[in-house]
């Protein structure tokens, strides 16, 4: 028993007992990785990764590279926000990449223009009724398809007690099949101008950071967030406390599905086309962002801020390898090692905490 505090009834706030937020460790890892790339860059490239080395005085940063780093992780980052919540409940979502593929095809079919440079749209999926629709239609269709996929995942996991790994593995195969069946493997192209705006420029980044802020608040300051952590931490205790665990899990998976659907809308808008192979292995990258960001695969621990920093770590590594002109092979090898390292570190910290208690 520690009795170093003064007063009775636990009224003191003992600062020495304060816990070190895990996000700071993840942030330290990000800074360390940046420093490594800066040193390697200075030695081998005579350049800096993030800082402007040219003789300009308007900025100290290399803005173009910063922009690339965040744009390339923004879309998968949106998926990772949902995956983070799923993993905190001690679940997993393997289907998000395929759901992106299926949603991309279906949503894009409702975003097509009637005429391409004077002649009828050669890629039109439906008849004239589905062409030149207001932009809200494909967006709602995209969110809807994602939510239906999430609803099926959630129902299987929460009510029929199929393990999340199996349920979402099934959805992963099924949704990829839907993506290929939808237009028999043909791409769906030529969206309306309004639809093309969604994913243009820095919009994906703005949407990603806005949603990150929203879900940061939701996870930390609402009943939904508290119950999500409680279920992942001790499902029996959550049930004993009167939380409707199945209904809550259903909601978590529906939100994850909606975010995957939104990611598909942004991705197709950015690329101006939808292909059945879209989103391939996005689920694994999203899980990697969460895990690198300190979300525990055993549930109960992790945060949205951690996942955002985890996404930035992946972005910096990807950009850094391009910057050093190293092949993509090395990049994936290093990412693999970092993921295993992050989980090993988490395990080690848990063991140490258990030994202290």
């Amino acid at each position: 028993m520690s009795d170093s505090s003064e007063g009775t009834g636990g009224l003191t706030y003992d600062k020495s007992k304060r816990q070190w937020p895990n996000e700071l460790n993840v942030l330290a890892a990000l800074i360390l990785i940046i420093i490594i790339f800066e040193i390697l860059g200075a030695i081998f490239m005579q350049q800096s990764l993030l800082f402007d080395t040219r003789d300009r005085f308007d900025s100290i940063f290399n803005e173009a590279r910063l922009r690339i780093i965040i744009i390339q992780v923004a879309i998968i980052g949106i998926i990772a926000l949902g995956v983070t919540q799923v993993i905190i409940t001690a679940g997993i979502d393997l289907s998000s990449g395929s759901v992106v593929g299926a949603t991309a095809m279906i949503a894009m079919s409702f975003a097509q223009v009637a005429e391409v440079s004077g002649s009828p749209n050669p890629k039109a999926i439906f008849g004239a009724w589905a062409l030149d629709l207001p932009v809200v239609v494909p967006v709602l269709v995209g969110l809807g398809v994602g939510m239906i996929a999430g609803l099926i995942n959630g129902f299987l996991i929460a009510y029929s007690r199929i393990p999340p790994f199996i349920a979402t593995l099934g959805m992963m195969l099924f949704a990829r099949g839907v993506a290929q069946w939808w237009s028999l493997g043909n791409p769906v192209s030529f969206p309306t101008d309004a639809y093309a705006v969604i994913g243009s420029g820095m919009n994906p980044v703005i949407i990603f950071l806005g949603l990150a802020l929203l879900f940061h608040f939701v996870m930390n300051y609402t009943v939904y967030g508290k119950h999500t952590y409680a279920i992942g931490s001790n499902e029996a205790a959550a049930r004993m406390s009167g939380i409707n665990v199945p209904r809550h899990l259903l909601l978590v998976y529906v939100i994850a599905g909606a975010l995957a659907g939104l990611a598909a809308v942004i991705l197709t808008s950015k690329n101006l086309t939808a292909q059945s192979g879209m989103g391939l292995s996005y689920e694994l990258e999203a899980i990697a962002m969460a895990v690198i960001g300190g979300v525990s695969l055993f549930g109960g621990r992790g945060s949205i801020i951690g996942t955002v920093i985890g996404a930035l770590i992946i972005g910096v590594i990807t950009s850094g390898f391009t910057f050093l002109r190293l092949g993509a092979y090395y990049q994936e090898m290093v990412l693999g090692m970092i993921i295993v390292g992050a989980v090993a570190l988490d395990q080690w910290q848990q063991k140490r905490a258990a030994a202290r208690a």
């Binding site: 009834g9 816990q19 939701v218 508290k226 409680a230 001790n234 004993m240 406390s241």
Partner: protein, 257 residues
């Protein structure tokens, strides 16, 4: 007619052919502390499970706070005012003290947001502090997660729930079984505090010294039946042991076992 907080008549539980609990007639006065003793498998935990709604009884009636009750689950019992400290602590390791105390019954603002209604952290912290002061539980920092706490502190958190939610009856199932000497003493102090505050308590325990120290009355179960109802001042350890082992049976329970 005494002021009973809890009364059971003919409470019976069969698991298929196994008669785990047979015809238990039990009373508990408001503010009274009663211990339930007995060998393993004597029916102590079965008795507690019928009262707290964890299981559904085969036969008999339960009257709680002057009303006949039939709880569908532990949650119903809790809402009615029966707070149970389980052998396996129902705490979420990754949450802190107020979060655990208020789990499933959070204080909230912005309730129109449904499941996304906002937590009122300050109100929950204040209530937690008040509950801890009331029970004399000492926890260095309530913002620490349960995972970083000792077994004794965890047990104290579980017990502090009862004080925070003005319950009418507290049931503790072997609260000190897994604790060290110092931590046991701390838990016992909390139980004494509850007594001073007039909280009714059922304590399931194997620890003879603890029982004689803390309660007013001892009920002994043997092979699914109540075999003794003893006031602590009229009995001693040796006497209780002979009831537990079956060497003696209380006069009013003759023919029962």
């Amino acid at each position: 007619m005494s002021d009973y907080i809890l009364e059971t008549k003919g409470l019976t539980k069969h698991y298929g052919g196994v008669h785990a609990l047979e015809d238990a007639n039990f009373t508990l006065e408001r503010g009274e502390h009663v211990a339930i003793m007995g060998d393993n498998g004597a029916g102590k935990s079965t008795f507690v499970r019928q009262i707290t709604g964890v299981e559904q009884r085969t036969r008999g009636t339960v009257v709680f706070d002057k009303e006949e009750v039939s709880f569908a689950g532990p949650l119903d019992a809790r809402e009615a005012g029966i707070e149970t400290v389980f052998q396996t602590l129902a705490l979420a390791d990754d949450l802190n003290v107020p979060d655990n105390l208020f789990l499933g019954r959070e204080k909230t603002k912005w309730n129109w947001l449904g499941p996304f209604r906002r937590l009122d952290y300050k109100a929950m912290r204040d209530d937690t502090m008040a509950g801890l002061v009331k029970t004399g539980v000492k926890i260095p920092n309530i913002r620490n997660t349960i995972a970083n706490m000792s077994g004794g502190q965890r047990q104290c958190v579980a017990i502090a729930r009862t004080a925070t939610f003005a319950s009418k009856l507290t049931i503790m199932d072997e609260p000190t079984a897994a604790l060290g000497v110092q931590e046991t003493a701390q838990v016992e102090n909390i139980i004494r505090t509850l007594k001073e505050q007039g909280e009714s308590l059922i304590l399931v325990s194997h620890n003879m010294r603890q029982v004689f120290d803390l309660v007013d009355r001892i009920i002994v179960f043997r092979r699914g039946r109540m075999v003794a109802n003893l006031r602590v001042e009229d009995t001693n350890g040796e006497d209780v042991v002979s009831y537990i082992t079956g060497a003696k049976t209380g006069a009013e329970f003759e023919g029962a076992a």
